[in-house]
């Protein structure tokens, strides 16, 4: 059987879904991040000065872009796949001759595409406030794609295990957002007191944001190789766990 058609069908369905509801999916990050740039970058940032040799606006731009990529790649998969479960049209996929890896790949690709699209929108907004010069395009793009993949996978797992709409908002609100804010979006980890620096090292988002910031402005608190290893490790682990859940039918079959 030609699985590429099934894969393409899921991906196109996912893209059409978030494009159809663009006022909910693509517009809010543009407004929110414009406010971040205005308040934190312009109004407060001008009084902060520089961090690691970069002015504050340039320093926070990569973090805010990647934070948007993280939250939207996660949100797309968790809301779409949980709705598919809730409306029971997951049964269309379970009855059809589609291997689990195609289902996973289709939904995760939809999440990656939305995350990256939102990343582009936020980058365009940031250009109104800062001069964007990308230091290393390969690192910037690759860490953006890998980060979107990690959080699209995490959103997929959340959707599989969720039993109510409350369950799909708990992780984004109480885990993802705090980890993003504490992941060095607005500050350097060197600015934290000793114990908090050590605690921050346990936050995977810190590694992703620093690698992305390095790609953008050449500044990082973390070894870039370690960032790629950790991000890749998460992708492998979350992919295997997602496939295990699908194989067992946990959360989707009786």
């Amino acid at each position: 059987m030609n699985y590429s058609i099934a894969f393409r069908t899921i991906v196109i369905k996912e893209i059409l879904r978030f494009v159809r509801i663009w006022p909910q999916t693509l517009l809010p990050p543009a407004i929110t991040t414009a406010l971040y740039f205005l308040i934190f970058g312009k109004l407060i940032g001008d009084r902060i000065g520089t961090i690691s040799g970069a002015n504050y606006m340039d320093y926070i731009v990569p973090g805010i872009i990647l934070m948007s990529v993280i939250s939207h790649s996660y949100a797309n998969v968790v809301s779409s796949f949980y709705s598919t479960k809730f409306q029971r049209n997951i049964e269309e996929l379970l009855v059809a001759p589609i291997p689990n890896w195609v289902i996973l790949g289709g939904y995760v690709s939809g999440g990656i595409i939305r995350g990256l699209l939102v990343g582009v929108v936020v980058t365009l907004i940031s250009m109104l406030f800062a001069d964007i010069h990308i230091n290393n395009i390969a690192i910037t793009l690759s860490i953006a794609v890998l980060t979107a993949t990690v959080f699209a996978l995490a959103g997929f797992i959340n959707a599989i295990l969720a039993e109510s709409f409350d369950d799909i908002s708990i992780i984004p609100n109480f885990v993802l957002t705090p980890l993003s804010y504490l992941g060095g979006v607005f500050y350097s980890v060197d600015m934290l007191p000793g114990i908090w620096q050590s605690i921050s090292m346990g936050n995977p988002i810190l590694y992703m944001i620093n690698a992305f910031r390095y790609g953008f402005i050449g500044v990082t608190d973390i070894d870039i190789q370690l960032s790629f290893i950790i991000t890749g490790g998460f992708i492998v682990t979350l992919t295997l766990f997602s496939l295990y859940l699908l194989h067992k039918g946990i959360g989707i079959k009786n």
Partner: protein, 309 residues
Amino acid sequence: MNALTLRDLKKTYNNGFKALKGIDLDVEAGDFFALLGPNGAGKSTAIGIISSLINATSGSVSIFGHDLSREREKAKSCIGLVPQEVNFNQFDTVKSILLNQAGYYGTPRKLALQRTEYCLKQMDLWDKRDTVSRRLSGGMKRRVMIARALVHAPKLLILDEPTAGVDIEIRRSMWQMMQDINRQGTTIILTTHYLEEAESLCRNIAIINHGRIVENSDMASLLARLHVEHFVLNLARPIAAAPIIEGCQIERVTDKTLNVAVPKEHGLNKLFSQLSAQNIEVISLKNKTNRLEQLFMDLIDSNPTGDQR
């Protein structure tokens, strides 16, 4: 060739409930097969396992010779499922529901468009192709589910109570559609609570109760086993009491209506002669219950624990 073969299929849910206690079933290719049973008997569990929505505890499922666990994709390609409840994305248009379904089965776009048009026209839904599905009536939603199940041209169509809750006019038109689909060579397995529907449409039948198959035969042989038929007689003139006729049980419902249980060997001609001899004139009669319904109730009542016959 068998369209479906089940061998010692068992399902025990996590709460310990044994929904299927080892069922064997053969459905021949081209058949129109009824799978009947009371609520909670195990029909939906069996269909869930066949269509991969439920994991079996043990046993095997083979669809057109493809084992569902070893040749999963090939086996699944043969099936089209019409579930009990509406389960398509209610925000999608009718056309996109079918196109997506075709895509899931690996149908190339050009062929998918042709198949979508064909199935929607067959279900009389072509003029609704661009309508968002949540705006459709209940009957139309049912037909969308049938069209969706047919879009990849399955060899085995499973209809799980397809006419539940639809009005009699739509039900009759759906019967016609199902017969047409079966005549075109598609094997159909039907579950329904309308036993008249099963009797009219199906050639073979299995009855499941308490997780076991308690009857499995062709419809004609099963109906031939009916020893007593129940009729309602409408009389020309009022009567004061129910007449007494040896061999038949007669109950006076109103002064011009009788319920009569007639053994097959007694026959209606003899009954009418005996009533006529008592100066009772019958102007019309109808079956009190559908014949299959009567057999079904007899089988279920005589197998309260689902013991195999």
